[in-house]
């Protein structure tokens, strides 16, 4: 809402020395938030004076244009009193006319400095100004196009034009919250200003209106809930060519709207002034009675923006004998629109049901100044006054006469009543506010206040449909007392339990991964088929079951993702594209898998039952927390110490294993094949439960070379994605302090020859089991194929360490345990001990 300060002051008698900043600040403190202060015209500096055109010689130019070489009397404003020579491109004036002249040294909006300059062969010393050049609305001064021609009695040559024209004003733009719809009018803004400065206030709707007489244009309201009040007035003999008065056009312009024509401007002006949207019909195009009803299915209307709309049975429409002529309160129809030939204006000032307005506006995607007010709630008692004000302005500026008949259908709803405990403002705000203060402030916002000092009976003013609850009254009282009066007191919560287990574990994961040299990224979770195609995710893969958005920002990414890799890999490619030699990233976030179940919309008048709540929560898509890791390019930098090393699948599987180790979770890896990984270098990470159940946590390994190339990643880029919820759930609650032997260690190394297809993990597991209780640790330290190893086989070298808790191992004990380990590996995997 843009409110010109001069207009505010018309309705409230503010002290003259109140600055615009002060006014804006005080109104902000009351809840009308300052958005911006504009100072139109303050970017114009003089000399800007009245001039009388003395001569005007048209001079055709080679470029086809004709310019006018003029001399203009500017009085003494030029210091010499001599006529001022000025070249002017406009033609809508004659010698003898009074015009507005900016002389050299003046500055026009846009930092346009005026100086004497030679143009079209003349020294042009200044400019004869148009409305647009001065920032005034088009049509100002009666000229729809061209320079401003002042009335003959406007002044004398050399007079200061700032005193003559409404050039300078100050405009406060407010951000009006939905509960303060009354402030979408000068009436409301001025009321708040009066409240802020305790200044006298003149309500613009406080005017005598002619009584309804049943003689006006006939109106039938079939749906009084949708349209409780409908007022119709008619003006006849209106001059459609009459211009909008300059002051009105300027105010409409400063308020952020565009002046159009007198009839339209008057309705908009009254809306800005009172908050009540008005609709004007060309009365000669209306046939028969106006009727308000709901549309029926299949009905259509072409609104005055030219759009043909299919109507809903919920839409409120206005009809005449020809059919539907308007979407009530939202937008009029084309057939009865006012035009440049309209001489009879039928004025509609109706109160509409706000919810219906909101729904219709949304349904038809119409946002308008009228709709914005109607859907938030307008004072239902001002229809007659607003209509009368429109009639008054139409007659005053467009000629014609007000028809005698006045139609009023319906009565405004009774004002709401709220009972408020007198101490509620104090109890809610923590400020010492007594009952008298509460009464006074509620009265100041327009409430009727009765009751006793324990409970106040408050009658809500008609322009405040937002005041429905006792707490609403609290806000009214406290905002006037001032939010600055709220003391600062720390509450005393009950003893807390700190972070949850999951919250602590998530921090632990982040620290462990950062400690391993990985950098965390945060990506958008939006994805699409193309992104999943790029990862070669098969059509029947669960990861295709994305949650689709009804209104995605991008048609390329219409879904909430099922895999973090789309985002993390994009971040990896971005880093690579920016010249990073290596990438080591991780990301945690939830993914989602589509659910077919609808979530219920419950009531709000009570807590849902446990069953209702369970159904609600159960309907949501499954949203596990995932972890993604990407490693590619240089893992270790080259330097004076030697060559660097690129990351490969070993690194990423290592990151996963180390993370599990950090968390105390035992995971196993199996060879697997899954997109987007390299089919021969993909590890399935498995969680083994205490009962032996095997749960897949996710996958890790080198990406498929096609995926790597497609995404522009370094060769051999590797990645992992795990279900972090599952991993964290497996973390033991309290680690038992380890008991370890300090006796000498016995080391045994074995080299085993196995078929190349046998997973090393299987051999390792067999050795571990076979070695028995004396085994302290086992580590695969080499894998070898080549000379000395038969084709199709591989040699696995393990280092075994044996130790007993209670003694030094006797000669041969370790060797026996080693032999037992090898024997089991042989039995299980066909491993043969190498000599």
């Amino acid at each position: 809402m843009k409110a010109p300060v001069s207009w505010i002051r018309e309705h409230v008698d503010l002290p003259a020395d109140v600055t615009t900043e002060e006014l804006a600040r005080r109104l902000t403190d009351l809840g009308l938030k300052l958005e911006a202060i504009e100072r139109p015209g303050h970017d114009i500096t003089g000399p800007l004076v009245v001039g009388r055109v003395l001569t005007k010689s048209p001079e055709p130019q080679k470029n086809g244009k004709t310019i006018n070489w003029c001399t203009v009397d500017v009085g003494d404003a030029n210091g010499t009193g001599e006529p001022q020579g000025i070249v002017c491109g406009a033609h809508n004036f004659e010698p003898g006319d009074l015009v507005v002249v900016v002389l050299p040294g003046g500055v026009l909006p846009g930092d346009f400095a005026i100086s004497a300059r030679t143009t079209y062969g003349h020294l042009s010393a200044g400019m004869i100004c148009s409305a647009a050049e001065l920032g005034l609305p088009a049509g100002f001064g009666g000229a729809s196009d061209g320079i401003i021609v002042l009335p003959p009695d406007a002044g004398a040559p050399g007079d200061d034009a700032f005193a003559l024209l409404p050039l300078r004003d100050e405009v406060i733009e407010f951000e009006i919250n939905p509960d303060r719809a009354y402030a979408l009018s000068l009436r409301g803004v001025a009321r708040e200003a009066a409240l802020a400065f305790d200044a006298p206030y003149a309500d613009p709707v406080d005017r005598p209106v002619p009584a309804a007489d049943g003689e006006g244009h006939p109106v039938v309201v079939d749906d009084p809930d949708g349209c409780p009040v409908f007022v119709a007035r008619t003006v006849s003999g209106f001059d459609p060519t009459a211009p909008t008065p300059d002051w009105m056009a300027r105010r409409i312009q400063l308020a952020g709207m565009r002046p159009i024509s007198l009839a339209v401007d008057v309705t908009n002006y009254v809306m800005l002034e009172t908050g009540r949207p008005i609709h004007g019909y060309d009365a000669d195009k209306v046939t028969g009675a106006l009727r308000v009803r709901r549309a029926t299915a299949g009905e259509r209307l072409t609104t005055l923006d030219g759009t043909d709309r299919a109507l809903s049975p919920e839409d409120l429409v206005v009809t005449d004998d020809s059919g539907i002529i308007g979407l009530g309160g939202v937008m009029g129809g084309e057939t009865t629109e006012m035009s440049s030939t309209t001489t009879r204006v039928l004025v509609e000032a109706a109160h509409w049901d706000a919810v219906s307005m909101f729904r219709t506006g949304r349904r038809h995607k119409i946002t308008s100044e009228a709709g914005k007010r109607n859907e938030r709630g307008v004072d239902p008692t001002i229809c007659e006054a607003a209509a009368d004000r429109v009639v008054e302005l139409l007659v005053a500026h467009g000629g014609g006469t007000a028809d005698a008949g006045v139609t009023v259908v319906g009565t405004p709803p009774a004002p709401a009543k709220v009972t408020v405990a007198a101490d509620l403002p104090a109890r809610v705000s923590g400020i010492d506010i007594d009952a008298a203060t509460t009464r006074r402030h509620l009265a100041a916002v327009g409430c009727g206040v009765g009751g006793d000092d324990a409970a106040l009976d408050v009658v809500v003013p008609p322009w405040r449909p937002d005041l429905t609850d006792p707490f609403d009254m609290v806000e009214e009282v406290v905002r006037i007392v001032g939010y600055g009066a709220v003391p600062s007191v720390l509450p005393t919560p009950t003893a807390g339990r700190g972070l949850t287990r999951e919250q602590r574990l998530r921090r632990r994961v982040g620290r462990a991964l950062a400690g391993a040299g990985l950098v965390e990224v945060v990506s958008f979770p939006f994805t699409g088929e193309a992104a999943l195609d790029a990862l070669e995710v098969p059509a029947d893969d669960e990861r295709r079951r994305t949650v689709r958005l009804a209104n995605p920002l991008s048609t390329e990414e219409p879904s909430y993702t099922t895999t973090l890799l789309t985002g993390t890999l994009a971040a990896a490619a971005r880093n690579t594209g920016r010249g990073m030699p290596g990438i080591a990233l991780f990301e945690t976030g939830t993914v989602a898998f589509a659910s077919d179940v609808a979530a219920p919309l419950l009531g709000v008048d009570r807590r849902p039952t446990d069953d209702e709540l369970a159904a609600l929560l159960g309907a949501l898509p499954r949203q596990p927390l995932h972890l993604a890791v990407v490693l590619g390019g240089q893992r270790d930098n080259p330097g004076w110490w030697g060559a660097g090393r690129d990351a490969d699948w070993v690194d990423v599987v290592g990151v996963v294993r180390d993370l599990a180790g950090e968390l105390g979770v035992e995971v196993q890896v199996e060879n697997d094949q899954l997109a987007p990984w390299h089919p021969g270098r993909c590890a399935k990470v498995v969680l083994v439960g205490v009962d032996g159940t095997r749960t897949t946590l996710g996958h890790a390994g080198e990406l498929h070379p096609r995926v790597v190339a497609r995404l522009g990643l370094p060769a051999r880029t590797s990645a992992a994605e795990l279900d972090l919820d599952l991993l964290l759930a497996a973390v033991p609650d309290a680690v038992r302090g380890p008991v370890f032997s300090t006796y000498p260690v016995a080391k045994e190394d074995v080299a085993l020859l196995v078929d190349a297809a046998v997973p090393a993990g299987d051999v390792e597991a067999a050795l571990r089991e076979g070695a028995g209780a004396l085994l302290e640790s086992l580590r695969l330290f080499d894998v070898y194929t080549g000379a000395g190893v038969p084709e199709g086989s591989k040699s696995l070298a393990f280092a075994l360490r044996f130790r007993a808790l209670d003694r030094t191992l006797a000669e041969g004990e370790a060797a026996a345990a080693r032999d037992a380990a090898v024997a089991l590996a042989t039995a299980r995997t066909g491993a043969a001990l190498r000599g």
Binding site: R362, P491, L513, R578, P621
Partner: protein
């Protein structure tokens, strides 16, 4: 002095020549294993040689000459290797003094004592000299080695790039820590949220104009009533529905709005929401909590102010401003210029808050006659932007490692 990279590393070898620690591959570990744990150090055999007995070496002048020769040799040894040779030559089995000692047995008993003393003293003097010289040479050796091993420690040592956590993560943790320290707990909820929890339960009915203020991502089909949560407030509702007061809970999390992506808008951003529900809670407790939060995040003395505002789930509602932590409310910076952080306002818009609307308490099963509550919410991304002078919101979501790395693992 002009220094070049190949001159500033004293020592026996140029540092660039140091071999990379690289294992030759492939190599057959199997063959190597054959020699493991098998070898024993070769043992020297017993010395059965017989030396003929002579008596002349036991004469005093002979012993003295031997001693002097030995001491001279010790003194002449300039390094540990030379000293080792001296030790062998003058105290070894074949050394003159050792040979002399062996002959003592051949002397008549009355002469043995004298000779024994003489030779023993001589050997003692030589051993002492050897030990002293050994100590000196070892010290010299160590000193020389330390000099020789000197490197230029200013050379780059960035073998592996440092990791980092994202400032949005650590920022949310820092905020959480502030509230946990006050005895609050941290609650979370899903981002794909029931429409009822995101809107209706929070007094944002389907026809509430404020719904259009929150440009919502709806999931398809809309009849399933699931949205991408537009604020962390549904966690409020979840918390009230599942806990009984007193409740003191902060909820950091990811939220979504259909905003086009630019330097100050993002379809995904982060909020922290806080709610307190207890008997006798007032706006004063809200103010106290936010003042404490502001001081904890921005420094001692940084407080807040309230401006009336509107949120459907709170009544009364307020917007919270923060005293500018750069100019401390003066609106000018140290040089007297307009403060850039607050753009000369002296205050920074921080978030929204208010007293819990009793309608929300009712929908979430809290008795509004017994309990009151407050709620507040602010953007984490926005908070971090002005706290750390981040100019472009997109820096948080691009994943450029240089961004997160600057913040380390705590914020």
């Amino acid at each position: 002095m002009r220094r070049t990279h190949n001159r500033f590393a004293p020592g026996p070898r140029h540092f660039l020549d140091w071999p990379a620690a690289r294992r030759p591959r492939p190599r057959d570990h199997g063959a190597l294993l054959l020699f493991d744990h098998r070898g024993k150090a070769p043992m020297s055999g017993p010395n059965n040689e017989f030396d003929p007995v002579e008596v002349t070496p036991l004469k005093a002048e002979e012993v003295e000459a031997m001693t002097e020769a030995a001491l001279a040799a010790v003194a002449a040894a300039t390094d540990l290797d030379a000293l080792k040779q001296v030790r062998i030559e003058h105290t070894g089995d074949r050394s003159p003094l050792a040979l002399a000692n062996r002959e003592i047995g051949a002397l008549p008993p009355q002469a043995r004592k004298d000779a024994g003393q003489r030779v023993g003293k001589a050997r003692g003097a030589v051993n002492q000299a050897l030990a002293a010289r050994q100590a000196v040479l070892e010290a010299e050796h160590e000193e020389r080695m330390l000099v020789e091993e000197t490197v230029d420690v200013t050379v780059a040592v960035d073998r592996r790039p440092r990791g980092a956590r994202h400032p949005l993560t650590t920022g949310a943790e820092r905020i959480a820590d502030v509230f946990v320290a006050m005895g609050w707990e941290i609650a979370e909820g899903p981002v794909l949220e029931a429409e009822w929890l995101n809107f209706d339960a929070l007094n944002l009915g389907p026809d509430h104009p404020a719904r259009t203020m929150q440009d919502t991502f709806w999931t398809d089909p809309a009849e399933n009533h699931v949205v991408l949560r537009t604020h962390t407030s549904p966690v409020q509702a979840r918390t009230m529905l599942t806990r009984t007061p007193p409740i003191y809970v902060a909820c950091p999390g990811r939220v979504f709005r259909t905003d086009e992506y630019d330097a100050t808008h993002s379809p995904m951003f982060h909020q922290v929401e806080g709610i307190a529900i207890d008997e006798g809670i007032t706006m004063a407790h809200l103010k106290g909590t936010l003042d404490h939060f502001a001081a904890a995040m921005f420094g001692e003395g940084i407080s807040t102010r309230f401006r009336p505002s509107f949120f459907p789930f709170t009544e009364p509602s307020a917007e919270v401003d923060l005293v500018c932590f750069v100019c401390r409310g003066t609106a000018v910076d140290a040089d007297g210029a307009t403060c850039r952080t607050c753009r000369g306002e002296g205050w920074i818009e921080w978030g929204g808050c208010g007293v819990m609307n009793p309608r929300v308490l009712v929908a979430c099963g809290v008795d509004p006659e017994r309990y009151t509550g407050f709620a507040f919410g602010m953007g984490i991304d926005r908070t971090l932007m002005f706290r750390h002078g981040v100019e472009d919101l997109r820096a948080f979501f691009e994943g450029d490692v240089r961004f997160a790395t600057a913040f380390g693992t705590e914020i």
